[in-house]
Subunit: 134 residues, 2 copies
DNA sequence: CTTAAAATGTTATATTATAACATTACATTA
DNA sequence: TAATGTAATGTTATAATATAACATTTTAAG
């Protein structure tokens, strides 16, 4: 069995490629605009590619910004849950990894008699670079 | 000095009222539809009231669902940061409180040389009631 | 090869949110 | 009380984000 990322279709590869070469999250219509020369003409083509890429864990959505970011981690297990550090100054995004967050959230949920399934976490602030500048 | 909630205008009170009497988060256009008989005719009137209510901490936005929920905590300090338990079955929402989350996130951010300012946390799963039923 | 599932292409439309601008309410204080 | 400044309002239009519906094509597995 091949890696999911090897089975990508043309549209999916095109969308993933532009996200992987971006230093910040991109919006769907920004992606659309940037790749119209590659034969993608409608929003739906972008959204469908994004849906698939999210499903296999190669892309994550930043909910509070309606934007999308490529995952840099091989075999990222964040197909459902995501945790980000988002710089308010430069918009760069770093993904938090490791399962300690999940066990922590499970415990927090348990206290409320709530059965944890998955989560979205978005932490806003200043990244390393922007801390220095300001 | 009066409480911020005592200074609410008519539109703001109308929007807050419908949110406080809802058992689940509501979408902006749902609110609009439900209160047209009270003289609110345009989306902008709803969004402006929501903006103000969010600013003073009486309402929070559930980013992943584009919906809005009234805060049940007196003097809620979550004017910027929010933490929710969201039931995937019944859509009910419980807000996590306490500063332990903030200190935990600050530490996680620190590890990445990131300066924590605020956060959004959305935990999905099954609430107490829905756990029993399923 | 056949076939079923997935992906595509295309048009239209739904949903969520803001821009722009003229007007009104209201608290402060001169 | 009149002047003044800030916030809120009302209204129309439009921007930004996302999905429905359906016919067609590609792909992978048997």
């Amino acid at each position: 069995m091949a890696l999911a990322s090897e089975n990508l279709t043309k549209n999916q590869k095109t969308v993933l490629d532009i996200l992987e070469n971006s230093s910040e999250p991109l919006k769907a219509y920004t992606i659309l605009f940037d790749i119209q020369k590659k034969g993608i003409k409608s929003p739906l083509q972008v959204y469908r590619a994004l849906d698939k890429l999210i499903e296999i864990g190669k892309v994550h959505k930043i909910e509070s910004r309606n934007s999308y970011v490529a995952c840099k981690h091989e075999g990222c297990n964040a197909k459902t849950s995501t945790s980000f550090l988002i710089c308010e100054n430069c918009d760069s995004v770093t993904e938090l990894t490791g399962n300690n967050l999940i066990s922590y959230f499970s415990k927090q949920a348990e206290k409320n008699n709530f059965n944890y399934k998955k989560h979205n976490l978005e932490i806003f602030g200043l990244c390393k670079n922007c801390k220095l500048k300001n």
